[in-house]
């Protein structure tokens, strides 16, 4: 019975369902299961081999878009072209690195009739890894001590204050554990070559890692929140399996985060629980995570709720979720005709 539901055309990025996956395919699965609307999915890709491009039961049509480094005007021009053809209702960007551009373009997109539901620029900036210490102080949330460095020798001074090991982090992605200065130098060089400077050196908190994904309405209310414990972790530190848990402390911390920051949009909190049972906030990812479909399976369709908020529809908070729901990721080889690869590579559309 789908006749009375409106049809939304939704642009989604993050179609790279690889070993360090973007959230796009999982977000789309949630959207496809939405109870309150039907959707036509427009994939927005950066590379020709992002698997989502070729998943035709997931993505209806894909357009390549320019990398964030090309600037917002180039992106805007491409989105105008796509909108002219597809009449987009909503765009859901799923990469940290592209959010800056989409937040800047938010009002211009809205004037074209394209809705988004993104964090405000100040929220996006203050939760940045580089600013995590100040963020913790401002909102009274425990965070590991960290310092942004622009020269690897600056890390030598940190040895006085921090114990080994130290976590070496890129400004957008990647984290490597270093047990001595040689390892730290190698990690610094590897990550800075890929993601640029600064590099964040963070105190390592021994404990168990938990993650919470959720959705804030921008008014301080928790619309959705599902905590997860990783059960199977890849060599890149990504969850390949996880389970929803009933952790009242993690949920209380999430409520506090949303209430105090008035967070707007989807998010993922990366938390570490130390041996004393204290939670440390390691990172705030300003978008839905790749494991967002677990939240859908546990009873909170966060992608659907995000679209409802973007469209200005009422969106009541979810009331609970199923504990003990697991996700087990898998790899699947699709057979693709070279004509499709040729088309996306040459025309930027498929």
């Amino acid at each position: 019975m789908t006749t009375n539901k409106p049809l939304f055309t939704i642009g989604v990025t993050g179609l790279n369902a690889i070993d360090s996956p973007g959230p796009g395919v999982a977000v789309i699965r949630g959207l496809r299961e939405a109870a309150s609307f039907n959707c036509r999915i427009i994939g927005l890709s950066y590379e020709s081999l992002e698997p989502g491009i070729y998943m035709h039961d997931i993505v209806d049509k894909t357009y390549q878009i320019p990398y964030p480094s090309a600037g917002t005007e180039v992106l805007m021009s491409r989105l105008e072209y796509i909108h002219e053809k597809e009449k987009l209702d909503v765009i859901i960007p799923n990469f940290d690195a592209e959010l800056y551009s989409f937040i800047k373009l938010e009002s211009r997109l809205l004037s074209m009739g394209i809705h988004t539901f993104l964090p405000r620029m100040d929220q996006f900036e203050e939760r940045h890894k580089v600013n995590l210490n100040d963020f913790g102080k401002k909102y009274q949330i425990k965070v590991p001590r960290s310092k942004a460095i622009y020269n690897v020798n600056e890390a030598q001074q940190l040895e006085k204050d921090y114990d080994w090991p130290l976590v070496v982090k890129g400004k957008y992605y990647d984290a490597i554990l270093a047990y001595n200065f040689d390892q730290l130098r190698a990690a610094y060089n590897k990550i800075s070559a890929k993601w640029g400077l600064p590099i964040i050196i963070q105190e390592f908190i021994h404990g168990t890692e938990y993650n919470v994904t959720g959705l804030g309405d921008g008014q301080g209310n928790t619309i959705a929140a599902v905590p997860m414990r990783k059960q199977y972790i890849t060599d890149k530190g990504k969850a390949w399996g996880g389970i929803s848990i009933a952790d009242s402390q993690a949920l209380a911390l999430t409520d506090h985060f949303l209430k105090s920051t008035q967070w707007r949009g989807g998010f993922e909190l990366e938390l570490m629980k130390d041996k004393n049972g204290d939670y440390y906030l390691l990172e705030i990812n300003p978008r839905m995570p790749a494991w967002i479909y677990l939240a859908v399976g546990a009873g909170q369709n966060i992608p659907e709720a995000l679209v409802r908020l973007a469209m200005g529809w009422p969106c009541p908070a979810f009331n609970g979720y199923k504990v003990g729901k697991m996700f087990v990721r898998y790899a699947w080889d699709m057979i693709v005709d070279i004509a499709e690869f040729e088309q996306i590579s040459t025309t930027g559309e498929l």
Binding site: M228, R229, G242, I243, S244, I245, D247, V323, G324
Partner: protein, 83 residues
């Protein structure tokens, strides 16, 4: 020796802690001990009940029970007064 009330234990001996997401398997003797502990039975009652089903000395059963309890404490499956 009180098990946390939210711990789920299946008939097969699969133990799930919903607060941490951890799961464990216990053997039939462990399952028997766990279920008796959940019912609030004392150490003496549990040792006596196990002795009825298995040919073992009370001292051996008691030692195994204490080891088992210590293991559950380490895995944070026990309820303490301050929790």
């Amino acid at each position: 020796m009180k098990i946390k009330s939210n711990i789920a234990v299946s008939d097969n001996g699969f133990v799930f802690n919903p607060a941490s997401g951890e799961s464990f398997m216990v053997n039939p003797v462990g399952l028997g001990m766990l279920n008796m502990m959940r019912k609030g039975q004392s150490q003496e009652q549990i040792v006596a009940a196990i002795q009825e089903d298995y040919r073992a000395e009370a001292m051996t059963i008691e030692r195994d029970l204490l080891d088992f309890v210590e293991m559950m404490r380490q895995y944070r499956l026990l309820q303490y007064d301050d929790e």
